[in-house]
């Protein structure tokens, strides 16, 4: 079962994502960037790290880009190898080039999905991040997650 952290200051957004992902594993929620970083640090310390974080960007206390940077720094400090890191999926109503490229190239986001989220697209992202079975897995041994 996957461990998922869903970060959004909008309770409805968290509810919708949790409902769509609950069957895949345990969904924890954080209502802002500060709470997300704290939850991630606690999970790391308890040796129960998250497999994936779904991160909103526009949040009042700490925005999602900064929270993603801090989560990456936590994993660096804990010596987590790149391939073992939690996958970071940005989920935001901001769909402009600046935010998307900043998320990918400056905050190590693995995926960016603009809102409103279509669950098949989110499911496809989890497949492509190596968290669910991928049709390409069976083809050869040259690729990794």
């Amino acid at each position: 079962m996957l461990r998922l952290l869903i970060v959004d200051d909008c309770p409805t957004s968290r509810l919708v994502l949790c409902a769509g992902l609950r069957e895949l594993g345990r969904c924890d929620e954080a209502d802002g960037g500060v709470a997300a970083v704290r939850a991630f640090a606690e999970a790391l310390a308890a040796h129960e790290p998250y497999d994936v974080v779904l991160m909103d960007i526009m949040m009042p206390d700490m925005d999602g880009l900064q929270a993603a940077r801090e989560i990456a720094a936590l994993q660096d400090a804990a010596g987590v190898e790149r391939c073992a890191r939690a996958k970071m999926i940005m989920v935001s109503c901001l769909d402009d080039s600046h935010h998307v490229t900043s998320a990918h190239y400056e905050c190590d986001a693995d995926y960016y999905i603009p809102k409103p989220v279509e669950l098949p697209v989110l499911h496809e992202a989890l497949v492509n991040l190596g968290l669910l079975a991928n049709p390409l897995d069976a083809e050869d041994g040259e690729c990794g997650a």
Binding site: D96, S97, V100, T101, Y111, Y112, P135, C143, G144
Partner: protein, 170 residues
């Protein structure tokens, strides 16, 4: 029509196509479209209403910056590849409002930096897609590893695996 991702109606194997650098096409029949990307960019296009799709594999960001290199191959450059694809889809009656796009590739190449920047390719893709008011539903770009893609244009599904090698192909 397709009954699964490997067979067409009647059990016939689905068409296969591999896109090399500078290639792109529109697919009106169920097809398994593949490519391998490093700092290059692929944009997939899918029209749910018509069940058609398109994809290209572009090496460089903007045609105007490399005009002398190869004038005739629109799919070599991200911006002209998008325009060419829209032209082809338009001939099928598919308008930008009907299309969902996904963007892949743009890895940080450890070699050829400056000549072939993944980030510049991705920025060119966004700039052109925004100008044409195309909807982007997902992106997976950047990083230091190449990507192997499998696209089903009639469904819009894209499967990706990261390559193990840290040295990207183009």
């Amino acid at each position: 029509m397709t009954d699964e991702r490997g067979k067409c109606g009647g059990g016939r194997a689905m068409d296969e196509r591999f896109l090399m650098i500078g290639q792109g096409d529109v697919f009106t029949a169920p097809t398994r479209v593949r490519t391998v990307l490093g700092s290059c960019v692929s944009v997939t296009f899918h029209c749910p209403q018509r069940g058609v799709g398109a994809m290209f594999h572009a090496l460089l960001s903007r045609r105007c910056e490399f005009e002398r290199c190869e004038r005739n191959n629109a799919f070599r450059y991200v911006d002209s590849a998008i325009e060419e694809t829209l032209k082809k889809l338009g001939r099928l009656g598919v308008t930008p409002a009907m299309i969902q796009c996904k963007i892949f590739g743009g890895a940080n190449s450890l070699v050829r930096e400056g000549f072939c920047s993944g980030r510049r390719n991705v920025e060119a893709a966004f700039e052109t897609l925004e100008r044409r008011h195309l909807q982007v539903v997902a992106t997976s770009v950047g990083g230091e590893r190449g990507r192997k893609l499998l696209f089903f244009p009639h469904l819009g599904d894209v499967y990706v695996k990261l390559l193990n090698s840290s040295l990207c192909p183009l």
